[in-house]
């Protein structure tokens, strides 16, 4: 479970994540009311040149956004049917700029840095008596168990194919949900047996302990 981040140490990688996020939010707010097409084209050229400053690797990132292009063509088509294709063109240009800029921040920022940059948002949790550690635990649980659930679905699907000779079926989602619920019971018990999330938090700020506790609990499940 890894993101589609670019590896590397370009100037955009070195820029601190909070700075990039603030620039992105400020840029988004500034471009949102713009409707002038030539100005939007200039912005688009600017964003594309930022991609180009990351060389071939950077330009390759643009390829991953191809599915979006079809969506934009579709919306442009709807505008055309409604006879408002000029508004549509500015809207599509603006969307392109915003999406490309947001994607640029995502691909040049490691997930850990991104989480750390957003962590201050969780600080108010303390005021209502919640530990800000809890979201961190929840995040590691999701990252750990999304692939496990995919694996469970794979086994269910194999068994179904062996029984019926047919390909996968939506019916398997019911046993998948049941397995997920059972597994979550086991993990919750394993967690409280190890002192709960409070106990894990006391082990240190970082989460290697969490990781170990969770690995143990999955091993027990066998």
């Amino acid at each position: 479970m890894i993101g589609r981040q670019m590896t590397g140490s370009s100037w955009l990688h070195r820029l601190p994540a909070p700075v990039k996020l603030l620039l992105l939010v400020a840029g988004g707010a500034m471009i949102f009311p713009v409707t002038d097409r030539s100005l939007l084209l200039v912005c688009l050229a600017a964003v594309l040149s930022l991609y180009a400053s990351l060389r071939v690797e950077g330009l390759r990132q643009l390829l991953y956004l191809r599915p979006l292009l079809w969506l934009l063509v579709f919306f442009l088509g709807l505008h055309g049917l409604a006879g408002t294709w000029e508004t549509g063109l500015s809207a599509v240009l603006r969307l392109l700029v915003m999406v490309l800029a947001a994607n640029l921040v995502s691909v040049t920022t490691r997930m850990d840095d991104m989480i750390n940059a957003i962590r201050p948002v969780f600080a108010p949790l303390r005021w209502i008596g919640l530990s800000p550690q809890k979201p961190a635990l929840a995040i590691s649980l999701v990252i750990r168990f999304a692939p496990v659930l995919l694996f469970v679905y794979g086994s269910l699907s194999d068994a179904y194919r062996a029984r019926t000779g047919r390909a996968t079926n939506w019916r398997l989602i019911a046993p998948l949900a049941l397995q997920a619920v059972r597994m979550s019971e086991n993990v919750a018990e394993a967690l409280s047996a190890r002192g709960g999330s409070r106990g894990l938090a006391r082990c240190g700020k970082d989460t290697p302990q969490t990781g170990r506790a969770l690995r143990l609990s999955t091993n027990e499940k066998g």
Binding site: S90, L95, A102, L141, V142, S184, L191
Partner: protein, 184 residues
């Protein structure tokens, strides 16, 4: 919040992620429109976990998407999805899960199947489209009616997901009654 609730929230967030990454379901009479099971996970979270935990599970999932985990259907992820025309639908997801949970709770005297179907229909389609369609309109400059027409291609798939949610909730309620936390 107890540790148990925290783990449940995390597991449903993981379930939403896993459902989005499953191979797309072949639904015969909908050739051409990709149907992924991701919004099924959103409906299930509200129906199974109840309003607060269901909405939190969806929010947790969206947070991971925002920080760059490629968990949205088709392996999408990163900040750009929140700048795309579908952002309204993403905003509608946690609110839809919340509404679905509320409806499950309010109709606890009914049988699970009709109650879950109603919850998924109102929360997973009604509330989600209520935010999704204006979202398209704001982001693309289309009029609301055109945005609604454009979204209508997803409606048959979403109706099928409502039916699946109801059947899954019924099955889980039979196999593991205490797992239907929205009514616990």
């Amino acid at each position: 919040m107890t540790d148990r609730s925290l783990v449940q929230i995390a597991f449903y967030a993981a379930l939403i992620a896993a459902l989005g990454l499953l191979p797309q379901f072949a639904i015969p009479f909908l050739a051409g429109v990709p149907i992924t099971a991701q919004t099924l996970g959103v409906m299930l979270a509200g129906v199974m976990l109840g309003p607060v935990r269901g909405a939190l599970a969806v929010l947790l999932f969206l947070f991971l998407v925002a920080v760059g985990a490629p968990l949205l259907a088709g392996g999408r992820g990163g900040l750009w999805v929140f700048a795309s025309p579908s952002v309204g639908f993403l905003i509608g997801w946690p609110l839809g899960a919340f509404a679905a949970g509320l409806i499950m709770r309010a109709t606890r005297r009914f049988k699970v199947l009709p109650s879950a179907a109603l919850a998924a229909l109102v929360g997973g389609i009604g509330v989600v489209y209520l935010f999704g369609i204006p979202g398209i309109s704001i982001m693309t400059g289309l009029a609301l009616t055109e945005a609604a027409i454009g979204s209508a291609i997803y409606l048959p798939g979403d109706l099928i997901k409502v039916a699946i949610t109801a059947v899954v909730a019924e099955t889980v309620a039979r196999g593991l009654p205490q797992a239907l936390l929205s009514r616990a």
